[in-house]
Amino acid sequence: MGELAGDKHVKYILSVEKKKDSFESVVMEHLRLNGAYWGLTTLDLLGKLDTVDSNEVVSWILQCQHESDIRALQNEDGSFSGDIWGEVDTRFSYCAICCLAILKRLDSINVEKAVRYIVSCKTLDGGFGCTPGAESHAGQIFCCVGALAITGSLHHIDKDLLGWWLCERQVKSGGLNGRPEKLADVCYSWWVLSSLIMIDRVHWIDKEKLIKFILDCQDTENGGISDRPDDAVDIFHTYFGVAGLSLLEYPGLKATDPAYALPVDVVNRIFFGRCST
C-alpha cells in the first residue's frame, strides 16, 4: 500500500494562490473561512501548523466576525435555521450545538427541543435525514449523531441498527459512500467514520481497505487529496481524507475528535485548559 505524502499536502495547502482563470477559485469565494478551517486543521493534524503565521490568521478571522445570535435561530419545533433567512436543516442543528458547546453556552438554547427535533429526523433504517421523512444520508447522520453526542443524547440512537447501515457504506474498492448504491467519496471517510466512532462501532468496517482507498486518492506529485482516485484535488477532500486517516490511527497524525472535527488536543484545551477570552 502507498504512503501518506504529508509534505506534499502541506505544500499544496500553503500554495493558496488561486489561478485567476479558475472557476473553482471564484466559487470558493464565500467559503474562505471554511477553506481556512479545512486547511489549518489539516496542517495541525500533520503536525505542521507552525508553517502559517497564526497572528495573521487570527486577525483576519476576527475581521470576518459578524454580530449575530445563534440562540435566535432556534425555531419553535427545536430545529435551527442556517441564518436569519430561514433555511432549516439538521446541518444547522449541529453547527449551533457545536458552536455553543465550544463557547460553553449550550444553556442558552432549548437543548431538549433541539434533541427532540433531531430524533424526529430518524429514518426507518436507523439513520438521519435533513428533515423528518428525508432519506438517510451519511452527511446528515454525522450532523445528527454529532449533535446528539455533544448534548449527551446518544441513547436515542439504535447503535446496532445505525452501525450496520454505516458499515454497509463500504464498497468493493474499500471506500465509503453516503447512501446505498452511490459512489464512494473520500469525504465519507469522515462523515461515516466519525459517526461509527461516536457510536462505538468503527471496528465493523475494514480499516485497512479504507486506508488504502484514501491513500489512492492522493496526488502524490503535487499534493492534495481528491474525492476518488484520479480526480482533481481540493482543500475540502484533503482535509476529510487526512482527518479520516487520523480517525483510523494512521501513524504520524494527531488524534481527531469525531464530534467536534477538531484535533483532540484543541478540544481538550477548550474544555479542560485555561480559560481564554
Binding site: 467559503l31 483576519w60 426507518l124
Partner: protein, 338 residues
C-alpha cells in the same frame, strides 16, 4: 484545480464592463475589504471583481431597484453560492413586487448549471411559498425534470417532500415512485419516497392499509435483484414496531428461502433470517437445509456451529469479509441470547 472552460468562455465573450453600462451610471463600486493581511486571498477575475464591487455598493446603500435586481442576477451567475446576494435579491423582489413566475424561470436557469446549490433550492422554496398551492404541480414538474438528469439529487427530494406537505399534489406520487423504480430499482431515494408516500399521503390510508400490497411490491423487487439493499430495508420498514406481524408474515421468510435456494446474492436474505431468529422465529426444515447447504467446505461440519444463527454468521463472515467483524459480533449476540 480543473477549470470549467465552457461556462467561463461564454461569460467572457458576452462581458461588458459595468462601468460602461448606462444602467449603472452613478454607482460607485465598493471594493472588498480584506483587512491589512488577507488570508486565503483569491486572485479574482476582473468581471467577478467588478460585479461584486458594484453589488457591495448597491447592497450597502440598500438600493431596492430594477438595476439592483439585474446586478443580483449577474452576481449569482458568477457565484451562485453567495447567500448574501440571494438574500438581497429577495428584498429587491419584495420591494418591486415581483413576477413570481419569471422568478421561477430564473431559478431554473441557475439549476441548469448546478442543481446541487443550497441557495437555489432555498430561494425556489421561498418563491413557491409566495405562490401557494397553485404552485404545486409546477414544483413537482420542476423536480421531475431534475430527476431526469439525477434521480438521487438530495436537494430536489427534500424540496419535493416539502412541496407535497405544504402545497399538496399527492395523487400521482406513488405512481411516480413506481416509474422511477422501473427505471432504476436501485434508486434508494425513490424507495425512501415510496415509504414517505405510503405513510403520509392523505389519499392512501396510511401504513397499515398499504402494508399488504407493499410487501408484495418489495418482494418482487427483491427477487429481481436480491443484492439490492433498498427493498430489504423497505420491507423491514413496513413492519416497523410490528415484530409479531413481521415474524408471522410467511411471505417474508418464503422470500428469503427462495433467494437462498438460488445460492447467489444471499447476504440480505441470510441477515433477514438472522433478525427473525433473534425475534423467536422457528424455521422449518426446508429453511434449515437451505442455510446448511450454503456452508462452504472451510466452515467444517454443520454441527460445529451451535445453532442456526451461528451458522448464518459463519457463512456471512466468509461471504461478506469486509464486514467480518460485524458478523462476528452478530454471532456473539446470537450466542448470548440463546
Amino acid at each position: 484545480m480543473a477549470s470549467s472552460s465552457s461556462s467561463e468562455g461564454e461569460g467572457r465573450r458576452a462581458w461588458v464592463p459595468l462601468a460602461s453600462r448606462p444602467e449603472f451610471a452613478g454607482v460607485t463600486p465598493l471594493p472588498q475589504d480584506d483587512g491589512p493581511s488577507p488570508v486565503v486571498a483569491i486572485a479574482y477575475r476582473d468581471d467577478f471583481r467588478e460585479t461584486m464591487d458594484y453589488f457591495r455598493s448597491l447592497y450597502s446603500s440598500r438600493e431596492l431597484s430594477p438595476r439592483s435586481l439585474l446586478l443580483t442576477s449577474l452576481a449569482i451567475s458568477v457565484n451562485p453560492a453567495n447567500y448574501t446576494v440571494w438574500h438581497f435579491r429577495r428584498q429587491v423582489l419584495e420591494a418591486l413586487g415581483a413576477d413570481w413566475t419569471e422568478e421561477l424561470e430564473f431559478t431554473e436557469g441557475v439549476a441548469k448549471r448546478n442543481a446541487k446549490n443550497y441557495q437555489l433550492w432555498h430561494h425556489r422554496r421561498w418563491v413557491a411559498e409566495k405562490l401557494g398551492p397553485d404552485a404545486a404541480s409546477r414544483e413537482l414538474e420542476f423536480t421531475r425534470k431534475i430527476f431526469c438528469l439525477d434521480a438521487k439529487n438530495y436537494h430536489a427530494w427534500s424540496h419535493r417532500q416539502w412541496v407535497l406537505q405544504a402545497l399538496g399534489g399527492w395523487e400521482d406520487e406513488l405512481d411516480y415512485c413506481a416509474q422511477l423504480l422501473e427505471e432504476d430499482v436501485f434508486n434508494n431515494s425513490a424507495w425512501n419516497q415510496r415509504y414517505f408516500v405510503i405513510t403520509k399521503s392523505p389519499s392512501l390510508g396510511g401504513l397499515n392499509a398499504m402494508r399488504d400490497s407493499e410487501v408484495d411490491y418489495a418482494i418482487e423487487a427483491i427477487h429481481a435483484n436480491p443484492e439490492n439493499e433498498s427493498p430489504w430495508r423497505y420491507l423491514r420498514g413496513l413492519y416497523n414496531d410490528e415484530n409479531e406481524a413481521w415474524l408471522n408474515d410467511s411471505r417474508v421468510h418464503s422470500a428469503c428461502l427462495r433467494v437462498l435456494k438460488a445460492k447467489r446474492n444471499f447476504k440480505f436474505a441470510l441477515s433477514t433470517l438472522l433478525d427473525l431468529l433473534g425475534l423467536g422465529f422457528k424455521p422449518n426444515q426446508e429453511i434449515k437445509d437451505a442455510i446448511t447447504s450454503l456452508r462452504t467446505s472451510d466452515l467444517g461440519e454443520a454441527g460445529s456451529d451451535s445453532d442456526l444463527a451461528n451458522s448464518i454468521c459463519s457463512i456471512l463472515g466468509l461471504e461478506d469479509p469486509m464486514r467480518a467483524n460485524y458478523w462476528t459480533w452478530r454471532k456473539q449476540q446470537a450466542s448470548s441470547s440463546s
